[in-house]
């Protein structure tokens, strides 16, 4: 081996960024093309340091913009090898054009997205605006709640995305600063075990196979475009979910850590629940447990797989509940909120379904406190007791000034 392996302790103290960088190192990515942006910069810096010290053998290309980073990743992936990058916020926004191109060309690229607000007003802190901007881009999208998840989900991502039955790019989202810059204990995999889990990259339609020239990125108009998009969507909905489940199962065997398509916490006998993503899942779980001690049957549904949205599993999780609230961490810009809509849509045809209200929280890095969640669970219980929604349908959590709502 031309590069050096790294001896890791069983548990390292890493933040989400470094955990992601370590996972990329262990997967022995062939080309990382990147452009730094807060708060994902340390992923790129960490990887650069690995290269400077001979811990990675692949190419590391610092390009002139995020658009060029993803363009370069697309060229590299089409050439035939393992490819990854990282970004946030404005950089993600600049990448959006190429995100659609990457998925439409069925190229398994891994993108770590350290979620951050979108300007204006300019803001470097965490919310899910960038995540929501890319939600229809045709990428598989996994959500990390903590540095451990950010590490583990990278292995899942490569394994699923590069599968020849899938061949789709995959994002791993983590909360800016709250996950990316918060150091926690992260249980590690040994280099060999991690690499073996992901396996060798198996090229397909690779441009560097000169005996079999390929044409990537063709034109299709009204005669074929629809079929391409429909098939891709169908693959996302029917093939990806079982593949993610299989990867979760394999990963549990390897690490003992269990991930689920829908992360249910105290849901089976719950009356009320919040549905949320990112770091707020852990806070909500803690508060739900405290509510249980007060005799309120509270639970939490964590979104682990944002795309493809696991409709069936979500229906199953929701059907016994009486009242729920969705927590959207992005300004919905004139709608109810992505999570509200997805959840409402997935349960509309259920015979019994919970009442649903929508909350907008945490924009631009505003904290979601335990007190906020206590209030929220209390409100949901009041809805159950009254047999109807007692508050406006959409409310902001923790915003100063007059209460704002339109529904």
């Amino acid at each position: 081996m031309a590069f050096d392996k790294m001896e890791l302790r069983d548990i390292e103290v890493w933040d989400g960024n470094f955990a992601a960088a370590q996972a990329l190192r262990q997967c022995q990515v062939d080309v990382v093309a990147a452009y730094p942006i807060t708060p994902s910069t340390p992923i790129v810096e960490g990887y650069a340091k690995f290269q400077a010290n001979n811990y990675v053998e692949g190419e590391f290309v610092m390009v002139e913009s995020e658009h060029a980073a993803m363009s370069s990743c697309i060229g590299a992936a089409a050439a035939g090898g393992r490819v990854a990058t990282a970004t946030s916020s404005q950089g993600f926004a600049l990448m959006v054009e190429t995100l659609y191109q990457a998925s439409g060309m069925r190229l398994p690229i891994i993108l770590n997205v350290v979620n951050r607000a979108l300007a204006a007003p300019l803001n470097v802190n965490g919310d899910h605006s960038d995540m929501y901007l890319g939600r229809d881009s045709g990428w598989i999208q996994l959500d990390a709640y903590c540095p451990q998840d950010a590490y583990d989900l990278n292995f899942i991502a490569f394994k699923v995305a590069e599968d020849h039955g899938i061949r789709l790019p995959c994002m791993i989202h983590q909360d800016g600063f709250m996950t990316s810059h918060t150091a926690q204990g992260v249980a590690t995999l040994a280099d060999d075990a991690a690499y073996n889990f992901v396996g060798n990259f198996q090229p397909m339609n690779d441009m560097l196979d000169f005996e079999h020239p390929v044409t990537h990125g063709v034109q299709t108009e009204e005669d074929w475009h629809f079929e391409h998009k429909a098939r891709q969507h169908n693959d996302l909905m029917t093939k990806v979910i079982p593949k993610i489940q299989a990867a979760f199962d394999d990963f549990e065997k390897l690490s003992g850590r269990k991930y689920n398509l829908v992360e249910k916490y105290d849901i089976d006998d719950a009356d009320i629940a919040v549905v949320c993503m990112g770091t707020s899942v852990e806070t909500a779980r803690e508060v739900a447990t405290e509510m249980r001690a007060k005799g309120i049957k509270a639970g939490v549904i964590g979104i682990r797989v944002i795309r493809p949205f696991p409709f069936m599993q979500m229906q199953e999780a929701l059907k016994g509940l009486k009242a729920i609230a969705t927590l959207d961490r992005s300004a919905p810009g004139g709608a109810a909120g992505m999570l509200f809509n997805e959840i409402a849509g997935s349960m509309y045809n259920l015979e019994t379904r919970p009442m649903i209200s929508g909350k907008i929280y945490g924009l631009g890095g505003r904290d979601l406190t335990k007190a906020h969640l206590v209030e929220l669970f209390t409100e949901l219980q009041a809805n159950v007791d009254a047999g109807k929604i007692t508050t406006p349908l959409q409310q902001f959590v923790g915003v100063r000034g007059p209460k704002l709502s339109f529904l």
């Binding site: 002139e64 370069s72 992936a77 090898g81 191109q101 044409t215 034109q219």
Partner: protein, 318 residues
């Protein structure tokens, strides 16, 4: 190092194996296909190609067909250069890791783009590729207009041309701004090789392409590509127009080594007046009306000044 392909004459050149098929949707008389074939025929090595969105791309890769018998990629309008640079990075990675399927091959990485995709929207991406030193060649198919979308001006469009976004009229002579000097800008990245070529001077062109393939690092080629549709001339006259472009010195042929040494590679025996070049094209028809005739003299003065400038640089070896 792969062996340089030897080409004796045009007949031999035109009968070498095609990796760009004649079966494509380009307009009759389009110079793009001639330029592309001359570039590809300059080498026997394997090719990894890209096209930015534009005439070449939409006319050669319409699903389920392809005109390319070589690895080819299109992503978008602005990033064809970076697509090939990404593939080149993967090549280097797999070479290091010993995972190339045909490690003995010597692939060439070439990006084709129009002037809009190079001078305008793709400018930053090309500059990035040049600065980073990728082993790629970027070839501009310079027809001085957004031809694929119906003739809008680009920053390569010359003064006085009538285009759909800068039309000539009773109160306008059309495009008001001078063409961007892209070759100089790219040469200023101090890349190993930058050159202007024309498909009529095929020996000069092949020599430059072959030199470009032989150097280590990025290469920038600007190829004049007369556009029968937007320059408005008869499709049978493409080569005549190309002759006029080079022999009037509107498109002088030269090269710049390492950004520091300029050589003029073609000196027409009989320099043609710029007026003849303009008169052969419908896009300049209005310049021959009395009110705009002064522009023809300005055109000639500008071309003369540029030629003098190139000569001064060549003499001074800068």
């Amino acid at each position: 190092m792969s062996e340089m392909k030897k080409i004796k004459n045009l007949k031999e050149f035109s009968t070498s194996a095609d990796r760009f098929e004649g079966a494509n949707l380009l307009c009759p008389g389009c110079a793009h296909s001639i330029i592309v074939r001359e570039v590809l025929n300059a080498t026997n090595d394997d090719l990894v190609l890209s096209a930015s969105t534009g005439c070449l791309e939409v006319c050669t890769a319409v699903y389920p067909y392809t005109s390319w018998d070589a690895s080819w990629i299109h992503i978008g309008f602005e990033n064809g250069s970076t697509a090939v640079a990404g593939a080149e990075s993967m090549y280097k990675a797999l070479l290091k890791k010993g995972r190339l399927k045909q490690p003995e091959r010597n692939p060439k990485f070439v990006s084709f783009a129009g002037d809009g995709a190079s001078y305008d929207i793709g400018f930053q991406w090309i500059s990035g590729c040049m600065e980073r030193g990728h082993n790629i060649m970027h070839v501009v198919l310079d027809n001085e207009v957004y031809a694929n979308t119906g003739g809008q001006r680009s920053s390569s469009t010359p003064i006085g041309g009538s285009n759909t976004t800068t039309p000539a009229g009773t109160h306008s002579y059309g495009e008001k701004k001078n063409k961007k000097d892209m070759v100089s800008i790219m040469a200023s990245h101090h890349i190993p090789y930058a050159a202007q070529v024309a498909p009529n001077k095929w020996k000069d062109m092949v020599k430059k392409i072959q030199h470009g393939f032989s150097v280590d690092g990025p290469v920038f080629i600007n190829a004049v590509s007369p556009c029968t549709t937007e320059w408005k001339f008869d499709p049978k006259d493409t080569m005549m127009l190309t002759d006029l472009s080079t022999d009037s010195l509107v498109f002088p042929l030269y090269e710049i080594i390492e950004g520091r040494e300029l050589n003029i590679t073609y000196r027409p025996k009989n320099v043609v007046p710029v007026e003849e070049y303009l008169a052969a094209q419908g896009r300049f028809k209005h310049l021959f009306k009395d009110q705009y005739k002064y522009l023809i003299k300005e055109w000639q003065d500008r071309v003369d000044a540029n030629w003098a400038y190139l000569n001064r640089r060549e003499e001074a070896r800068v």
